[in-house]
Symmetry: C2
Subunit: 302 residues, 2 copies
């Protein structure tokens, strides 16, 4: 491994995972590394965050040279390495960062501030860096940015700022219902039926108030009519995402819609929005977060 | 304990608990007994159901006399003692029962049929007996019957029949969100604020499509504005019950509304319905289910 060209290290550090990239001076990716040491599993304080990071990036370090690590995500939460501040929307997606305490002299770790909204109350950590990356790649982007995940975010972006945003419990609720509720007896553990998903989605957009009975009906349909497990799984996803999108669509249609996230989930959202007449553009998660982290790295270097 | 007067035994056997009553010839309650041996904890088949029942009612048995046990609830599910049939709504709440296999010659166990609805698919086991009891006590009842619980049921009753019904995952979802989601960090484990509940309820009835963001906003409000844990707990309940009632209220206002369930939860529903202009009558759970089991016992004796 030739580490001579490594100029800085980018880190996307969420609740479940830590992803790191060794970056060149021109922001090319030289090496990648990933572990399951997200904020969630690390519970014993500062030192353990530093150990988890060093374990992953040790091969990239050179003795005698201190290297910058630019990080974003839940690592900046109260339960994280150090609590990073929140910027208050409306705001630029990257406004400040905080230095994390380290024992090693080989690394200097910066964590991006999150973004908060006071009324209605909302918070993000990590998504602001994705939005910064989107604006690097599409500087004149105006519209809605959707970042699907455990806690899906919808942000209104204009004039280079996050104007306002809203978080939905959609992903977490899907997992809880699929794995822990009575629906676990009915849903297949994987598999996908797009027609079932779209049918449930359209029904949820039309009648969002029936979510809690729609969910139970999957169990009853399995008991009485042998509803297929894959179809049940896809319908549950359609009911939840449909209700989320029904709420989003209360606002005016945006000029553009950006989807940022993992391939599988953004494709599901793209299909859903398309079925409802909204065309969305997909921005790959890795290049987008890296553009945002590089933007931060450059801004604060100057 | 004088067991001479015991004529038959009533059993309400749900997922979590088994409740038994020793009944006189005139359907007076002579003795009560309860255990946590619901259908859920019993997994190894017929024999274990019989043992769980005998453990509870052994003191009531007299040698040489075979006694009838009339049971309702999830004990008749596929995973229960024996699968009881479903009657198809519209139907009388009690139409048939099934005899459970027993080794003991001291008991003869009957389980009430559940009720199913094919489209939209729905099922109940136990609630039909509560509705039968309601009709014993109020033979001319016409209207909506709400049975709040883990899976809350709303049934339309007229002409002595269950015309149709709908099940909501409300109670189970509340427990999952309160104990297992990110909201567990925010919600108090107990406590109640009626103003917070009603405020969230009215907001949910107005905007049922915002449930998934309303839920997350509790977490954000705690992080940013130090939202009180009891208030958060009450608001979550308001969002969920509000969405359920919003769906119910799509139909016409009924002549009467009956609430059957435990004291605490029916009072919450009564307050919620009252705030929305619907007056509900409370029917105590124990006397109602006993009236239903007695009705069944008498019907099939003849």
């Amino acid at each position: 491994m030739n580490t001579d060209q490594i100029e800085w290290i980018a880190a996307d550090w969420g609740t479940s995972n830590l992803r790191c990239w060794a970056m060149s001076e021109t922001n090319e990716v030289l090496f990648r590394a990933e572990s399951n040491q997200g904020m969630g599993p690390i519970t014993s304080g500062h030192g353990d965050f530093e150990l988890a990071l060093l374990e992953l990036i040790q091969p990239w370090l050179r003795s005698g040279k201190r290297i910058s690590v630019a990080a974003c995500g839940m690592v900046g939460a109260k339960q994280g390495w150090i609590e990073a501040p929140y910027s208050a929307a409306p705001c630029s997606p990257i406004t400040e960062r905080i230095t994390a305490p380290t024992r090693s002299t080989e690394i200097e770790v910066f964590i991006h501030a999150g973004v908060k909204q006071l009324d209605p109350a909302d918070v993000m950590r990590g998504e602001e860096t994705q939005i910064a990356g989107l604006l690097v790649n599409s500087p004149d982007f105006e519209g809605l940015v959707c970042l699907p995940g455990t806690h899906t975010k919808w942000a209104t972006v204009s004039d280079g700022h996050i104007q306002r945003f809203q978080t939905y419990l959609t992903g977490e609720l899907f997992t809880l219902l699929a794995e822990q509720s009575v629906l676990r007896l009915t849903l297949a553990p994987e598999g996908w039926s797009e027609p079932a998903f779209l049918d449930a989605l359209l029904s949820a957009v039309k009648s969002p108030e029936s979510l809690l009975s729609d969910c139970f009906s999957l169990r009853a349909d399995a008991l009485l009519n042998e509803l297929d497990g894959v179809e049940a799984r896809s319908r549950l996803s359609g009911y939840l995402i449909g209700q989320e999108i029904a709420n989003t669509m209360k606002g005016p249609a945006p000029d553009r819609i950006a989807l940022i996230g993992s391939d599988e989930i953004v494709e599901i959202y793209r299909v859903a929005l398309d079925a409802l007449g909204w065309k969305a553009e997909i921005f790959p998660s890795e290049t987008t977060v890296l553009a945002g982290l590089a933007k931060g790295n450059a801004s604060f270097d100057n």
